[in-house]
Symmetry: C2
Subunit: 374 residues, 2 copies
């Protein structure tokens, strides 16, 4: 089987990640931050080490563990929500940001603007700045589109937001692990990460990273292991964002995933660069194939279509006949397909990881050539 659906989740996890999860189920199997006994304290220390590791990886002030990246984005959006105000997001945004924003907009009379890229392949500060109003309080930008890998110039958008006193939220679901992000350098107030993608970590944990300056409200309430006598959510400690039992094994897996990516960063990304460039070039040579991914984009997400074939049908043929796993359809990205004009057809997406090979890419290209002749 050839697995080219790594933007949904990286399928092959490094042995270090698997061993860390196993450790969380056996050696470090207690509830961190609850009891004071030595095993609970040891687990808490392990969890805090991973928090520190994520913090250093993106230069954040604070890191909160969430259910998944979508949960982190909900915390960022609902936790900073301002009634009767204005939000800007982009046509690259996933439903993970679009839906909480549009739901809040409907309920609390928030105006929403969708910025689109004027330069092919990149969303710039100019694309954002034209939408800024007096009551704009949040700019939400998908760092890398999950449909075609299109990226945003977050450094200059961050500078624009800072200049205008606007909160800047970055959805790093697809980018983290592939592009180094420094929150402070880029003036990113909040950054959401999907560890099970580019950090090769287990599903079942996400993170919201944020700066000290952000006034964030919790969106769930419950036991935090602190202020047990308080019938309301604590208002100061970081634990107020982490009600209930944390997924310790997954957090330890995330710790190992970050170490793996840090120590193989150049290898991982030069390989993905090579494979992406090859795939993009070869696909664009095939008659009838339209590639949406910009030729310079080499981050492992290649969106394309074959003639007017339905993208889910192409994905189905690849799975059934060639044993190749890609995703077709809309990829939970309605705004993007409105922009691309592919709401009906969807897009076929091949997405790569460090564990893919040139041989797999060649087999894939051969398959696409055959399908394009149908």
């Amino acid at each position: 089987m050839i697995y080219f659906d790594n933007s949904a989740t990286t399928s092959i996890k490094p042995k270090e990640v698997i061993n860390a999860v196993l450790d969380g189920l056996t050696k470090y199997s207690a509830n961190p931050g609850r009891s004071g006994h030595k095993l609970s304290m040891l687990c808490a220390q392990k969890v805090e080490n991973v928090r520190e590791s994520v913090k250093n990886f993106v230069n954040a002030d604070n890191v909160v563990f969430t259910e998944n990246c979508t949960d982190a984005l909900n915390l960022a959006i609902i936790g900073t929500m301002k009634k009767n105000a204005h939000i800007i997001l982009t046509s690259n945004d996933h439903n993970a940001t679009a839906r909480p924003i549009f739901e809040m907009a409907k309920k609390y009379n928030i105006e929403v603007s969708v910025a689109t890229p004027s330069t092919l392949g990149i969303i710039t500060e100019n694309d954002i700045s034209k939408h800024i109003k007096e009551n704009t309080y949040l700019v939400c930008v998908n760092h890398m589109s999950n449909v075609d890998g299109e990226i945003a110039d977050i450094e200059n958008i961050g500078a624009l937001c800072k200049k205008n006193g606007i909160l800047f939220l970055v959805d790093g679901a697809q980018s983290i692990g592939h592009i180094k992000v420094d929150m402070k350098k880029c003036n990113i107030d909040m950054l959401a990460i999907a560890p099970h993608k580019g950090l090769y970590s287990p599903q079942g944990v996400g993170t919201l990273c944020f700066l000290n300056s952000v006034k964030l409200n919790p969106i769930r309430f419950g036991g935090t292991g602190t202020e047990g006598e308080n019938l309301y959510q604590p208002t100061t400690s970081l634990e107020r964002f982490e009600s209930g039992t944390l997924p310790t094994p997954n957090i330890l897996g995330l710790g190992a995933g970050i170490e793996f990516v840090k120590s193989h960063f150049n290898d991982i990304n030069s390989k993905i660069d090579d494979l992406s460039t090859y795939l993009n070039f070869e696909l664009s040579q095939i008659s009838g194939v339209k590639v949406y991914t910009h030729p310079n984009n080499a981050y492992g997400v290649i969106g394309f279509n074959i003639k007017d074939f339905g993208s889910t049908e192409v994905a189905q043929i690849l799975s059934d006949k060639y044993n190749i796993c890609v995703r077709g359809g809309l990829h939970c990205a309605g705004l993007k397909h409105r922009f691309l004009g592919t709401l009906e057809q969807g897009v076929v997406r091949a997405s790569l990881s460090y564990f893919n090979t040139f041989t797999e890419c060649e087999k894939f290209i051969r398959a696409i050539k055959q399908i394009a002749k149908m």
Copy 2:
């Protein structure tokens, strides 16, 4: 090390559970419910099998996977919230229900009544009925206290709620795995489960089970793998409650945990019954020890104090000097400690699992005898 902190999380997980998590990280490592390729479909089928298994285990109509039990309780409470109305909860309730209820109450002008037990060791329908008002729309009951194991007569409380047209929410965090629950027989509209406790499953997944009659609104928004073009949350499918990537390895672990508990149910609970009864009896014989757990309660949660010793200090001595893990303090249960009069001292809690032994209990009793002589 003797681990008596199983109400925080069961420390030893059965090998079947560990293997199922491993399978989720290796064999079934794709994103279920997103792509249509064979590996994603296989993962989706595995996840649906576990959903069906949970559904059958408690006789529910619907099962939603959440981050943890607290998340499930937040979905139940916030997702059915009615402004300017009235909620009843009990003095056994954990902050996982108390905090979302009191936070909603403050924000939306909801009146809250706290029912207390009139019969030692059990909360009955009479304890609830005296608080019912015309605008009571939700009764929330902790099935088993995490402080002293006190239980609620959910069958008769369910009948009372049904007669009065009131939603009935049960927090099954401590009870599921120890007491068989039939949601339909007990007229439970919503039941939250903490799989990592009595179902010996991994941390990192919870479930909210609910009946078809419940009108539940999602509390988080995002990609659901369905209606990708819709910028608002879908309004019909169950996926609207499960935005973002599911924790497949943990869900598979939960499936194995349920099978383990189902096939060892009598063994597990007769052993815990024996150990609990022994511990309760022996503790109550020690001069200076006050046991809060009712003598008839044999579900593995034994709350006690030694003289006026701080409960966290006792837990610390047990950890440092005897290598025994218990929890002291307030256990995220402010209402319970108000009722017991232990807000200052807290309670020492020993909590058992199937993997504990009589030898461990004897060593524990010897340690408590020595501490009580200090």
